[in-house]
């Protein structure tokens, strides 16, 4: 029996605590084609691929590969079947050579069963010659540029002679020349019958190389169509076409004068010529795809990274911010994206976590004013309806939503004028989510200016007075609340285009 499909994934289901990441998803990929997966951040593309290569075990569903039903329980099984993947996060061993990285775990053996360095280097050179990659096999990985590292990862994935190669955002870190090179490689692989699953956020790229396109949304399969039957607008409609069922209690706030204005801010390649203004009482949303540079803008404004150039003006006066201390002195606050990594101090109490940013205020002569700390922390606890048995409780024992409230308190205690919140409700339950939205609304009403980075479209549309949309480190547009639609924002987020005038 012949099957035009190399891969059939059927009814794949995966539930994480609190999230239905994949809801009975199907994916069929034909041999010798490029099949693109499209969808917003968190639509389920990466999760599905991790199921396919054996990093996640699905809760339900079947996988038929090359005519046989298979169980892929670990990555070795996947590789053995002929499925390899280029990961979004590169993971080379920096102190090893290019050749050693490519043959890691399957090193060619010489006499006595020892690793043959010569055989390894020769094999690498042959591989590179075939694919026209000009990197010396004996170079150390740490001496390569990011683009070169990416090319090595691509060569490694090809070297398995896989029947199916998954490429997760392979072009996010490489230049135009290398993108063209990669596309030529893909064409050649396709012509020899290899199937490629391609994940990208770049619209022009999708239409250039895809044979088929599958769209996911909120963990569900939306549609699979030949690329020839789609265009940019149709694709965006499929990606965002959700009904806005979640309601946010956005309250009307009086928008005041400009408090913060940022002009021509630059930092590395993820913050390029960023300019915008923020007013009192305003919630300014920052939308964009993953890696568009939104977090980097906040971190640069706050002095976590030093800006390369640009001017920051607060209340009409230019300010220099080279470390978080300076930003705090300018009445700014930053609630970071990754609660665990840069937010909570897990083994410290709720009280200690709350006061950390405002300590100078509570210890003017170095000694803590415990009575004031106690009073203010209790007041925060009540105002934010914080659920904790006591302020002495270790913060790591609280739920994600309550941890987030403590971190909001940490910054409210500094009495900021400008509050920057990166992903305010990531990974927290629905109830706490709407409480945090209500809180943000109330803070805006009190005249605070808020910048909110969010990857959740309903949150962006529901909360923002205006939306700054970023694409590859630049501001691709600023949209007023009245004009903000999912389609408009997605158009801008996927890059400037003739159709998005």
């Amino acid at each position: 029996m012949t099957d035009e499909y190399l891969l059939r994934m059927q009814g794949i289901d995966k539930i994480f605590p609190g999230v239905h990441a994949l809801d009975h998803v199907d994916l069929n990929v034909r041999a010798g084609t490029v099949h693109s997966l499209m969808g917003e951040n968190g639509a389920g593309k990466s999760t599905l691929m991790k199921v396919l290569i054996g990093m996640y075990t699905p809760d339900d569903g079947t996988i038929v590969f090359d005519g046989r039903e298979v169980q892929i329980n670990d990555t070795a099984t996947g590789l053995g079947l002929g499925i390899s993947m280029i990961h979004q996060e590169l993971s080379p061993v920096p102190e090893m050579t290019v050749a050693e990285n490519i043959w890691l775990g399957r090193e060619p053996k010489g006499a006595l069963g020892l690793i043959s360095r010569r055989a390894m280097n020769t094999a690498t050179q042959e591989l590179f010659d075939k694919w026209e990659i000009r990197i010396s096999p004996t170079k150390l990985m740490k001496d390569l540029s990011i683009a070169q590292t990416q090319m090595v990862e691509i060569a490694k994935a090809i070297s398995f002679d896989s029947k199916l190669i998954i490429m997760d955002e392979p072009t996010s870190a490489i230049t135009e020349t290398e993108v063209a090179h990669l596309h030529r490689m893909i064409d050649q692989l396709r012509s020899t019958g290899t199937a490629i699953i391609y994940i990208t956020h770049k619209m022009d790229e999708v239409f250039k190389i895809s044979d088929d396109i599958t769209v996911f949304r909120d963990g569900k399969h939306v549609a699979t169509l030949p690329a020839s039957e789609l265009d940019r607008d149709k694709l965006i409609t499929l990606m965002v076409g959700r009904e806005l069922t979640q309601m946010f209690p956005k309250l009307e706030a009086e928008i005041g004068e400009v408090i913060l204005s940022v002009e021509h801010l630059n930092r590395g390649h993820l913050v390029r010529d960023v300019s915008f203004a923020l007013r009192r009482g305003e919630i300014l949303g920052f939308a964009g795809l993953m890696g568009a540079g939104r977090t980097e803008v906040l971190e640069t404004l706050f002095g976590v990274h030093k800006a390369d150039s640009g001017t920051i003006t607060i209340n009409g006066a230019p300010v220099t911010i080279s470390q978080p201390k300076d930003a705090i002195a300018a009445n700014m606050a930053l609630l970071t994206e990754d609660r665990k990594l840069t937010g909570i101090m897990g083994v410290l109490s709720v009280r200690d976590n709350m006061i950390m940013a405002a300590l100078p205020k509570y210890s003017p002569n170095g000694f803590l004013n415990r009575r004031r700390i106690e009073a203010d922390c209790q007041a925060q606890r009540e105002a934010l309806a914080l659920k904790t048995p006591s302020l002495n409780q270790l913060i790591q024992n609280l739920s994600g939503g309550n941890q987030q409230k403590v971190l909001i308190s940490r910054w409210l205690l500094t009495l900021p004028d400008i509050l920057m919140i990166d992903e305010p409700t990531r990974g927290i339950d629905v109830g706490a989510k709407s409480e945090i939205h209500r809180l943000m609304s109330m803070l805006a009403q009190q005249g605070k200016a808020i910048i909110m980075v969010s990857s959740e479209m309903p949150e962006v549309l529901g909360m923002s007075d205006r939306v700054v949309v970023m694409h590859e480190g630049t501001v691709s547009g600023i949209v007023e609340r009245a004009d903000a639609t999912q389609e408009r924002i997605m158009q801008l987020a996927t890059g400037p285009d003739a159709t998005a005038a």
């Binding site: 897990g346 410290l348 803590l368």
Partner: protein
């Protein structure tokens, strides 16, 4: 609702939390009772108990500084060598004319000057540790390993490799004398412990210390100046090691450049038995002092029981590992 939550926190007593927190004190009492029975009461003689504390005063003082260092996920291996530097420096300024080898003939300074010189030497070396760690990003283990070797060399060079002896009675009073019937070293340990406890719990410096150990990235984003903090903590550790060095030199009446060898391990052991976590963010001063007392009680008890010194080492090793296992359990 607000009153309900407040009342809640005040009335509810967390029994299991209390037991976890003070388990170490129970272990100390257990050892005391056990040894009292085994030695037929001689362990409990007041003079013996005072001896125990006198012997662990230096370890307790160093463990106090070490607690700060370990809370910020650091380690200070150089304290033993800093003990020696402070010992020879302060001793050289406290010699009497009767000594056969005199470092500074004809020099007579008040005892306070020799003490301050020893403290300054310790603080300076600790400051260098901190600067290497904060300024060059060197791992504390490596930076203080280097200092451990270099400072020992400095002590040997300074003293010419010989003990500096015939110290003034005023200087020796620090390690040998009594104040209100209680040995001076015990007073010093008590004062150091109380001051350190206040610093850790009632000052901004203390909160910053816990914050740095709890999550360095978060502490940075919260606007805490981390470099100054790290330098300050390592300087504090050096200062306290210097104080311990003066204490030890005056107790034996001579500044020996070999003094303090291995004491860093006793101090680390005391801090860790006392519940300070190598994962950072957790630790108390009273825990470190109790840890030092446990070490002293075990040493003294085994001496009284005539257990061979070789066996004593095995027993101590086992107790250290057991203490950590119990600690890991309670944190789970």
């Amino acid at each position: 609702m607000s009153t309900a939550t407040t009342a809640d926190t005040r009335t509810k007593f967390d029994t299991s939390g209390f037991i976890k927190k003070y388990a170490i004190v129970g272990i100390l009492l257990l050892f005391v009772i056990l040894l009292s029975i085994l030695t037929g009461g001689s362990f409990l003689q007041p003079q013996n108990l005072i001896n125990v504390i006198r012997q662990v005063a230096a370890i307790g003082i160093i463990a106090t500084g070490m607690t700060f260092v370990i809370i910020i996920k650091g380690i200070d291996l150089s304290v033993g060598s800093i003990v020696a530097v402070a010992a020879v420096v302060s001793s050289s300024l406290a010699q009497t004319p009767q000594a056969s080898v005199i470092m500074y003939p004809g020099l007579h300074v008040p005892v306070i000057v020799s003490v301050l010189a020893g403290l300054a030497a310790g603080a300076l070396l600790g400051l260098i540790n901190g600067a290497l760690i904060a300024g060059f990003g060197i791992a504390p283990f490596i930076a203080t390993l280097g200092m451990m070797t270099a400072a020992r060399g400095m002590a040997l060079i300074y003293s010419g490799g010989r003990p500096i002896s015939r110290l003034s009675p005023e200087f020796n009073w620090i390690g040998q004398g009594d104040l209100l019937w209680i040995p001076v070293p015990i007073w010093i340990l008590a004062i150091v412990a109380v001051v350190a406890h206040v610093m850790l719990n009632f000052t901004r410096f203390g909160r910053h210390t816990y914050a740095l150990g709890g999550n360095e990235q978060a502490a940075r984003v919260s606007g805490i100046g981390l470099n100054k903090l790290k330098i300050g903590i390592f300087a504090l550790s050096g200062l306290l090691a210097g104080l311990a060095g003066i204490l030890l030199a005056s107790r034996i009446g001579s500044g020996n450049p070999q003094l303090g060898t291995g004491i860093e391990l006793d101090a680390i052991t005391a801090a860790v038995i006392g519940g300070t976590s190598f994962n950072g963010g957790i630790g108390t001063i009273w825990g470190a002092v109790v840890g030092a007392l446990i070490i002293g009680v075990i040493n003294n008890g085994m001496d009284l029981l005539n257990i061979s010194p070789f066996m004593q080492q095995v027993v101590k090793g086992v107790i250290i590992v057991l203490a950590i296992i119990i600690d890991e359990r309670k944190n789970r």
